[in-house]
Symmetry: C2
Subunit: 344 residues, 2 copies
C-alpha cells in the first residue's frame, strides 16, 4: 500500500541545518522527502513531503495536524520566527513546550496544488508513516489532529497503530455529516463557477467565505457585525462583508485552487469504522460546531469502546475553537498526554 522511495526516504534533505544548541533549547528544521505513495483512489503518485520539526532531538515527538489550510509551520522558532498556525498551543509553559517535546507537522499531500486527483485521508496517514520512517521516529507520543487533521489521525491509528501511543482528535468525526458535505460541495461549485468565468480566484474567494460561515457561529457574528447595512452604489452591503472579503483574499493569496478542491473533497471521502482505531483516543467536541455535530462525536466515542474519552467544549467559535480556545485546548492536551505515561 505504502511504497516509500527508499533511495530518498532515508536521506531527507534539510533546508536548514540547526546550529548546535543545548538539548533543552528548541531548535527547528525543515525538510523535504520524495515518496511514492499508492493513493487509495488514484494509483501510485510520486510526491514531495514537506515537514517541520521543532524541539530537542532527544524529546518525545507529537505530530500536530490542523485543518485543510494548515501546514508544516505550526509555531514560531528561532529559525522560523513567523507565527505558525498553532502558535498559541506550542511554546514555553504549554503542554507542547518545544523545550520538552518535539513537534512535527507537515504540509498535507495535495496542499501544493500539484496533485489533481482524489485524496483520501488514509493517503495522508500513509504519507505520515513514510515520513516517520525517514526521520527514524518509531513511535509518536501522540498525534494531535484538529478538523481534517483529526480524520488523518484516525486513519493513522487504524492503519499504522504501532506508530502512536495516543490520538487526540478535535472536531472531527468518523464520517462527515451530510449537511457539512453539502456545504463543501457548494463551495467547490463556487470554484467551478469562477473557473467558467475565467475568475478562478474570485470563485475560490467566494468558496472560502462560505466556508468561514461554517467555521464560525451566529453568536460571534451577532456580536461583531451588528451594524445596519449600507447602500453602496445602489446595492446593499451588510456589516460582515468587509471581514469576509478580507478572509477570502487572504486565503486566495496562499492557496492553489487545486489544493482547495482536492482537500475539500478529501474531507468528504473520509469514512472509518471507529472500532479499528485501536489506540487510546481523546475526542474533543465543540458544542455549537456547525460542521461536526456533537452527536456524531458521541457516536465516534461509543464506537471506540474503552479506548475512547470524550471532552466537550462550549465555545462561540464553533469549529474554529481549537484555534481560539487555546487555554482550554492546552488543558485537555495536558491531561491526554500525561495519561500516556512513560511507555514510549
Amino acid at each position: 500500500m505504502r511504497l516509500v522511495n527508499t533511495a530518498t526516504a532515508t536521506a531527507p534533505r534539510f533546508d536548514e541545518a540547526a546550529s548546535p544548541t543545548p538539548a533543552s533549547r528548541a531548535r527547528a528544521m525543515r525538510g523535504e522527502l520524495p515518496v511514492a505513495l499508492a493513493l487509495r483512489h488514484a494509483g501510485v503518485h510520486t510526491l514531495t513531503l514537506r515537514y517541520e520539526l521543532q524541539g530537542p532531538g532527544d524529546a518525545p515527538v507529537v505530530f500536530l495536524a490542523g485543518g485543510i489550510s494548515a501546514h508544516r509551520h505550526a509555531a514560531a522558532s528561532v529559525e522560523f520566527p513567523e507565527a505558525g498556525w498553532a502558535n498559541a498551543l506550542v511554546g514555553a509553559g504549554r503542554t507542547l513546550d518545544p523545550a520538552r517535546v518535539r513537534v512535527l507537522a507537515f504540509d498535507f499531500i495535495g496542499a501544493d496544488g500539484t496533485l489533481d486527483a482524489p485524496i483520501d485521508p488514509a493517503d495522508q496517514a500513509d504519507a505520515i508513516a513514510a515520513l516517520l520512517d525517514a526521520l527514524d521516529i518509531p513511535r509518536l507520543r501522540a498525534f494531535v489532529g484538529y478538523s481534517y487533521g483529526a480524520l488523518v489521525g484516525q486513519h493513522l491509528a487504524a492503519r499504522h497503530r504501532q506508530r502512536l501511543e495516543r490520538l487526540v482528535a478535535v472536531s472531527g468525526a468518523h464520517r462527515p455529516h451530510p449537511f457539512a458535505s453539502a456545504w463543501r460541495a457548494l463551495q467547490r461549485h463556487a470554484v467551478a463557477l469562477g473557473q467558467l468565468q475565467c475568475a478562478e480566484q474570485q470563485g475560490l474567494s467566494l468558496a472560502r467565505q462560505f466556508a468561514m460561515l461554517s467555521y464560525r457561529t451566529p453568536e460571534e457574528f451577532g456580536e461583531r457585525f451588528d451594524a445596519a447595512p449600507e447602500l453602496v452604489n445602489g446595492r446593499v452591503r451588510v456589516a460582515a462583508e468587509d471581514y469576509l472579503d478580507a478572509a477570502g483574499a487572504q486565503y486566495v493569496a496562499r492557496t492553489p485552487v487545486t489544493a482547495f478542491l482536492r482537500l475539500s473533497e478529501s474531507i468528504d471521502l473520509h469514512r472509518i469504522d471507529p472500532a479499528t482505531i485501536a489506540v487510546p483516543t481523546t475526542v474533543v467536541a465543540v458544542e455549537g460546531d456547525r460542521l461536526v455535530p456533537l452527536a456524531d462525536l458521541v457516536t465516534l466515542v461509543e464506537g471506540l469502546g474503552p479506548n475512547g474519552h470524550l471532552r466537550v467544549l462550549r465555545s462561540p467559535y464553533g469549529h474554529d475553537a481549537f484555534l481560539k480556545e487555546t487555554d482550554r485546548i492546552d488543558a485537555i492536551l495536558a491531561t491526554a498526554l500525561r495519561s500516556t505515561g512513560d511507555t514510549a
Copy 2:
C-alpha cells in the same frame, strides 16, 4: 409617502371574472393594479401590483405573505387549479377555509424582476395598503406572514395599523441576524460571479442552493443524504448534490435574477422598533431555525409588550417549518384568529 395612482387604483383590472356562485363557494380572482409608490431608498416608481383573492365576497379577509419566492397564488381553486405555495394551509377544514375566509395574496414588488432598486420591506407594506384601498377592504381580519412576509407584516402593522386586527409573524424577527445577512450577501456574490460573463443562471442556481442550506437543518440532511460520496469523472460528488442541483434549476426556471437580488437585499434592509407594531401579534419561532434564531424572536416579543404572544415549534425543517409543519401551523392560526373576535 404612499402615492396611489387614483386613476387606476379604484378600477383594478381583473384577469378573470368569477362566474356567479353561491356565496359559500370559494371563488378566486386575479387582478393587476398600477400604483405609484414612493420607495424608501429609491424615490417614486410606478409599479404593477398583481394579486389573487380567493373566497366568498362577504367573508373577512386574511392576507397571506410568504418568503421571497412566494407569490399571489397561495392555494388551488376551481379557477386556478394548480397547487399554490401555501396549498396545505388553505382549504376545507383549515383555519383558512376559503368557504369562510377570503385569502388575499400578492406578488411582492420586485418579484417580476423589473424593479432594479433597493426595496425596503416597508415599501411592500405601502403597496399592500394601496392594494387594500383599491379592493375596498378597509381592514384585514389578520395578516399572516412567514419569513419575508413576516417582516412585511410588521411594517404594515407599524405604518398602517388601522388596516389589520392581528398579525401572525412566523420565522421573522424585527431585524435580520448578522450571520443570516452574511449568508445572503454571499449568495448575492454568487450571482455576481455568474454575471461576470454569461453564466447568470448558474450563479443564481448556486445562490439558491446555498440558500436551501439555510432553510433546512442538518437533521433533515442527515436522514435524507446519508450515502457515501461517489467519484464521478475523478471528482467527488456527495449525496445531496442531485437534490440541490434540482432545487437550483427549479428556482432559476421561475425567478428573474434581479428579483432574487433585490428581494434578498430587502430582507437585510429590514429594521423595525417592535414598540411601533401596535396590534395584537402572534410570533411563531422555530427552534433550530438557522436563519432566525429563537433568541431574536424572544427579543421581538419582549418589545411588543402586551401585544406580543410567542409560540415555539421544534421542527427538523427549520426555517421552512411553516411550509412543512402545516397541521401545527394551522392549529396556531386557529388560536390566533379565534382570539381576534368579532371586532372586524
